[in-house]
């Protein structure tokens, strides 16, 4: 016998419940860490210090957060349309291919101020295209988008390996990577950009792509809640029959939502390839696509929440890397475990703490 789900007061829904979910995830992580034989509190301290303890680590945290923001927004836009896009990994990969190809083709011909926007557009286009095929299969054939996007992740991986090994590899290189981009194809690092206006920060991987991420957050917010297409998209996500009644073509809207989603995921390629590696490399999506699900869930699919969640995940990633560095028995995969637990507690078990929270709040009220 379960009591009907009464909503908590708004502040509790948006802030308290997600925090409790994260706390539970961390509790389990602490247990796992203890099982391995490490003091959980020591590990936690290292994590926090590693994330924001220095100018350099903060820079890295923000750099990671940029990627999480892109994939979080991607998953969120699809969620709002009622679609589950698990293909962020593949879309990020192919998006990177897009901007990489644009740069490799044109970096000897075009100046930076022209090439960079072009390459960004290319990454959006390629990412959107990679999402379009599963979208088409769902909209016109009824194939479940979860399965098709998962399949396409694997196909993207195979495709990229093939291209890197056989086609795009830099001549004379031992590892599968392309030649380096010319300076016109690189996005300036943040520490360089700030130095140019007189501010000194420690060097890190953080680059100006974060500006694009912020713009995307704002753009998604405007699109979803302040345009008629965003309205139609959200209608379809809540109630497909009402959307049809209202004159929306659900197939076209599915395509639109997924293409937007894929484009956003594709921007991870911009951050990684144009901002950091300055060449096309393998495996740069590195789990950001899946983590984007956790970011979207924690951020309740709202751009503001996603921005905050992305910062948290960025901190976790950076802190976790430092932690793995300091303590040899904890590997980098611990970050993956944390991500998985956050998805579990924020997504699947999100309602677990409700009865206790309701009790707590009722007691405080009386």
């Amino acid at each position: 016998m379960r009591a009907p789900r009464r909503p908590l007061p708004t502040w509790a829904e948006i802030v308290l419940l997600p925090l409790v979910n994260i706390a539970l995830a961390f509790l389990v992580v602490g247990v796992i860490v203890a099982i391995i034989g490490v003091d959980p509190f020591h590990a936690l301290r290292l994590l926090v210090v590693g994330a924001i303890g220095s100018s350099e680590s903060t820079g890295y945290t923000l750099y990671y957060a940029t990627n999480f923001a892109f994939t979080g927004l991607a998953v969120a836009v699809a969620f709002h349309a009622g679609l589950f896009n698990i293909g962020g990994e593949g879309q990020a990969y192919i998006g990177g291919l897009g901007c990489g190809l644009a740069i490799l083709a044109l970096d000897g011909w075009l100046p930076g101020w022209l090439l960079i926007p072009l390459a960004i557009a290319a990454s959006a286009l390629f990412g959107a295209a990679w999402a379009a095929v599963p979208a088409w299969a769902q909209a016109w054939r009824g194939s479940h988008i979860v399965i098709t996007t998962i399949m396409f992740n694997f196909v993207a991986s195979a495709l990229m390996v093939y291209l890197m090994v056989n086609v795009l590899i830099a001549p004379g290189s031992m590892t599968p990577q392309s030649r380096t981009f010319a300076p016109s194809g690189r996005i300036p690092a943040m520490h360089d950009a700030l130095a140019a206006i007189g501010i000194t920060v420690a060097p890190s991987a953080l680059n100006l792509t974060i500006v694009l991420a912020v713009l995307c957050c704002v753009g998604v917010w405007v699109f979803l809640w302040h345009t008629p297409w965003g309205y139609a998209l959200r209608t379809m996500g809540h109630n497909p029959e009402a959307a049809i009644y209202a004159g929306t073509n659900p197939r076209r809207m599915t395509m639109l939502a997924m293409c937007l989603s894929g484009a956003l995921a594709g921007f991870v390629g911009v951050n990684e390839l144009m901002g950091v590696h300055h060449r096309i490399v393998l495996d740069f999506p590195a789990g950001y696509g899946f983590a984007g699900i956790a970011v979207a869930l924690m951020g309740r699919s709202h751009p503001l929440g996603i921005a905050l969640a992305a910062l948290l995940f960025g901190a976790l990633q950076q802190g976790g890397t430092e932690l793995a560095f300091e303590i040899p028995s904890i590997t980098r995969e611990m970050v993956v475990v944390i991500q998985g637990l956050v998805i579990l507690f924020s997504g699947a078990l999100a309602h677990l703490p409700r009865p206790w929270l309701q009790l707590l709040l009722a007691r405080r009220a009386s």
Binding site: M1, H226, P228, R234, T235, N239, E241, A242
Partner: protein, 512 residues
């Protein structure tokens, strides 16, 4: 001399109370149902009748009160208990697995062993016996999805009898039946009564109470407000008790003055993916200033007709002309296009089509009209304009609470329906399609909605009303069309219509 103790009632409820959050659905209800009788429980939508019976059947747990069966207090924690005590329920929405056969549905939960084979054989034999005893015949190997609605209901009753029920609760059984099928059902109930089965009939249809029951309880807002022997009361008495005031069951309307033809359907047909003819050679004319009512039992093509007329589904054949624009299978319209032509549509299922439960009322108030001015300027939605629009609608149509930022799901059924109607009528459409305008709506709102539809008609709109409530059609329509099996089988003027004749047409038995 010893006083004779009164015979124990088959079912007795004492002080049953149930709340869902802030909604106090059942307040201190006590009643007795004597064995071997047919007792009716009547009340408006939302009066608490279904909740009360769900508590009796163990689907819900009462917050307070006692349940007594055959003179003994019992604990009802789940339908399993109810079944064990011989109580069976035939729900309004059938609890049947479409893909299973009749036999498989019957044995679910009472398979008689780990292996199916034995249980199925025993059930087959029992089905034959039940058919003989109660006159309920059905093919045991038929797939439920292939049965008619009346046959499906028979399976539900057989299921309950198969489990050995001595008390049968029927929840709005005639909602999906023609008058003739309803008569047949009540004859079955009389047979059951003759064999000592106790029947509880939940309905909001007063005629059925008068026709079928021995006793009736009237519920209003979660309480029992009256108890009568059926022979001591009548429909007006019951209606007044249900609502608490004198109710006008007739609408005062002036005769229609109709003008040009605004919508014309010629030889319209719709064939689905499996080759089933959902609509067959439909011809309709809608004139400005008239209300055309389409009567028929659910599932005879009315829903599909509305979808085609509203542009949601393209027709397979035939032609549709709306305000001068011709559409057919090769040039299908779409809902957005229909709206620009001046057509508005109040859908049959407001929760599934007419509004978005999670949206605020202001967002719901522009559903279908969000593109272009006045709500979109320069590609952006104009928030203040949308809010002002919603406030105006709520004022004019008395939607409560008057709060545009309230979630659409928080409004009562009647207020939701008024909001949807307001949205569509406020555009001053040339053609207005309305499906089930007062389903799940309280009586006060029903009167309001009916008056608004007549007002729209008087302002020159061509109105099409589809409803399964014959009373509604009879009171609203200037012309009545009857649909059966996807065809229009007859047209009747309301002053020469009577329920019997309409019922026969609705069952396809009378070709007018």
């Amino acid at each position: 001399m010893q006083a004779l103790t009164p015979a124990a009632a088959a079912i007795e409820l004492r002080g049953i109370d149930k709340s869902f959050g802030v909604v106090h659905a059942v307040r201190g209800v006590s009643l007795r149902i004597e064995a071997g009788t047919i007792t009716g429980i009547v009340g408006e939508n939302g009066a608490g009748k279904s909740t009360l019976m769900s508590i009796l059947y163990g689907l819900y747990r009462a917050d307070a009160g006692e349940i007594w069966v055959d003179g003994q207090p019992v604990e009802m924690t789940s339908p399993r208990d109810a079944i064990a005590y011989g109580i069976g329920m035939v729900h309004q929405h059938f609890m049947l697995i479409d893909t299973f056969t009749v036999l498989e549905n019957m044995v679910l939960g009472a398979e008689g062993g780990l292996m199916l084979a034995g249980g199925l054989a025993a059930a087959r034999a029992e089905l034959v016996r039940l058919g003989r005893d109660y006159g309920l015949t059905i093919d045991p190997d038929a797939r439920v999805a292939d049965l008619s609605v009346g046959e499906q209901q028979r399976v539900e009753i057989l299921k309950v009898l198969f489990r050995g029920a001595r008390t049968l609760i029927l929840d709005e059984p005639s909602a999906v039946l023609t008058p003739q099928e309803t008569d047949r059902l009540f004859r079955i109930l009389q047979t059951l009564k003759a064999r000592g089965v106790t029947v509880v009939l939940i309905t909001h249809k007063l005629r059925e109470i008068m026709a079928a029951t021995d006793r009736v309880y009237v519920m209003r807002q979660g309480q029992i407000v009256a108890e009568r022997r059926t022979i001591d009361t009548g429909t007006e008495d019951l209606a007044e008790l249900m609502v608490g005031r004198k109710v006008r069951l007739d609408l005062d309307k002036s005769p229609s003055r109709h003008g040009e033809i605004l919508l014309q359907a010629e030889h319209l047909s719709l064939i689905d993916g499996r080759g089933v003819r959902l609509l067959d050679d439909i011809g309709i004319e809608l004139r400005a200033g008239e209300i055309v009512g389409i009567a028929g039992v659910t599932g005879n093509g009315q829903s599909e007709l509305l979808q085609v007329l509203a542009g949601i589904r393209p027709p397979s054949g035939g032609r549709l002309t709306v305000c001068g624009h011709a559409l057919d299978a090769r040039h299908p319209g779409n809902p957005a296009e229909m709206r620009t032509l001046g057509l508005a549509h109040v859908p049959e299922d407001r929760l599934r089509q007419g509004l978005v439960a999670a949206f605020e009322a202001s967002e719901t108030s522009i559903l279908g009209y969000q593109d272009g001015p006045p709500f979109t300027r320069n590609y952006l939605l104009d928030g203040p304009a949308v809010g002002a629009h919603c406030a105006r609608l709520m004022e004019r149509f008395d939607v409560r609470p008057r709060s545009p930022s309230l979630r659409s799901s928080s409004f009562s059924g009647g207020n939701q329906q008024k909001l949807v109607l307001a949205r569509e009528i406020a555009r001053q459409p040339k053609v207005l399609l309305v499906g089930q305008p007062t389903r799940g709506v309280d009586i006060g709102a029903i009167e309001f909605i009916h008056r608004e539809l007549v007002k729209a008609r008087d302002a020159g709109c061509a109105v099409l009303v589809v409803s399964v409530e014959l009373d509604e059609i009879l009171s609203l329509a200037d012309r009545i069309l009857v649909m059966f099996a996807g065809r229009i089988v007859g047209e009747v003027a309301p002053d020469r219509a009577d329920e019997r004749r309409l019922g026969l047409m609705m069952a396809g038995a009378d070709a007018a």
